[in-house]
């Protein structure tokens, strides 16, 4: 018998009567998820529509945002909205500079070696923006179709962007991220013919993997298709602010 607590030790076999099993059942990203919820609540108070923009490097995230700004300025004043951006890259602030050159308030996050953005980074960056003066906050994630999928940033909508130069089977290759998207944008449609992009197959693949997603086909270069996207985002913004005022007035 063990001298310490009375359990049985027979030779080399230790009977584990000390062992206890404790149930935890806790998400391991709970810290990020909690911060994301905090972000979400803050953005709600500010009446901001927040979008997490995801894609491979070079698909045209920054270009699409600048084109959105150009096109929305052409709308009647009632249908315009103020865009602000938080952009993540491993290094340089080139994207923030590009955006600011188009009068889009932008905060750059340089992650060092992190391949994705997390809620705490977004919280810090969001403080640097004049949120009162914004309608739509676009979080341009690090170019990566894998890791960012797992990290809630506090966004309302996830947009996954793919360009015609990446091939029609992109959604089949990266199902996890496509399954988390409410919007899928096909960009660089101005190049579709040159690269023999098969639109029907691409759309079928998106619908197979992400049946929940709204699909938009655009060219950030020419502006084609951007209007429809703006109308959709404008509606989402109005819905968000309307439902909020309904809930707060019913208190």
């Amino acid at each position: 018998m063990c001298m310490d607590c009375g359990c049985s030790i027979a030779g080399n076999v230790e009977l584990k009567t000390h062992d206890r099993k404790i149930e935890i059942n806790r998400g391991i990203l709970s810290k990020n998820d909690r911060l994301a919820e905090q972000n979400r609540n803050l953005f709600k108070k500010q009446e901001l529509l927040v979008v997490n923009l995801l894609s491979s490097p070079g698909s045209g995230k920054t270009a699409s945002i600048t084109r959105m700004q150009i096109e929305q300025l052409k709308q009647k004043s009632d249908f315009r909205f103020k865009i602000g951006v938080i952009v993540g890259d491993l290094a340089t602030d080139n994207d923030a500079r590009r955006l600011r050159s188009k009068n889009i308030p932008a905060v750059q996050i340089t992650t060092g070696n992190a391949c994705h953005l997390e809620a705490n980074m977004v919280a810090k960056a969001a403080h640097k923006l004049d949120q009162n003066n914004l309608d739509l906050l676009i979080i341009e994630n690090v170019g990566n179709l894998v890791c960012p999928a797992a990290y809630d940033l506090g966004e309302d909508l996830r947009i996954v962007l793919l360009s015609v130069t990446e091939g029609e089977d992109k959604p089949l290759k990266y199902p996890t991220i496509f399954k988390s998207a409410q919007i899928v944008i096909i960009n660089k449609i101005d190049l579709a013919q040159a690269v023999e992009f098969d639109r029907d197959i691409a759309i079928a693949n998106i619908q197979k993997i992400a049946p929940q997603a709204q699909i938009f086909e655009i060219s950030a270069k020419t502006g084609q298709g951007v209007d429809s996207l703006l109308v959709f985002l404008f509606s989402m913004l109005k819905i968000k602010t309307l439902t909020q005022s309904v809930y707060s007035s019913s208190k």
Partner: protein
């Protein structure tokens, strides 16, 4: 991710007056986006010099289960195309498979 897991595990173990963690069980859904080998590798590195040093890591893979609204029944899809075997409609309603959690500990 493994660091987060260990932080939670060690905190829970200490809260329960344990001096050693013998086993860590994680539930990882097929759709969580996690590479189990990477987690296992990280585990071996991170447990050194902690109360989980000799712990066994058990990873339970949780299958994706979808719900078909039309048929009002659940099904387990083949691969990444979530097609109902009955009506062939594609579902986006995922009931399980996204888990990324620390399920339980065996402590002493």
């Amino acid at each position: 991710m493994m660091q987060n897991t260990l932080d939670i595990a060690i905190a829970q173990a200490k809260q329960n007056n344990a001096t050693k963690i013998d086993r860590l069980t994680m539930n990882i859904g097929e759709l969580s986006g996690v590479v189990t080998e990477a987690l296992e590798f990280a585990f071996e590195v991170l447990v050194q010099d902690t109360i989980a040093e000799n712990a066994e890591l058990e990873i339970k893979t949780i299958s994706v289960v979808c719900h078909c609204k039309k048929c009002d029944r659940t099904f387990q899809p083949e691969a990444y195309i979530y097609q109902c075997p009955n009506c062939k409609q594609i579902s986006s309603d995922v009931i399980s498979g996204r888990e990324l959690e620390l399920a339980s500990l065996v402590i002493s």
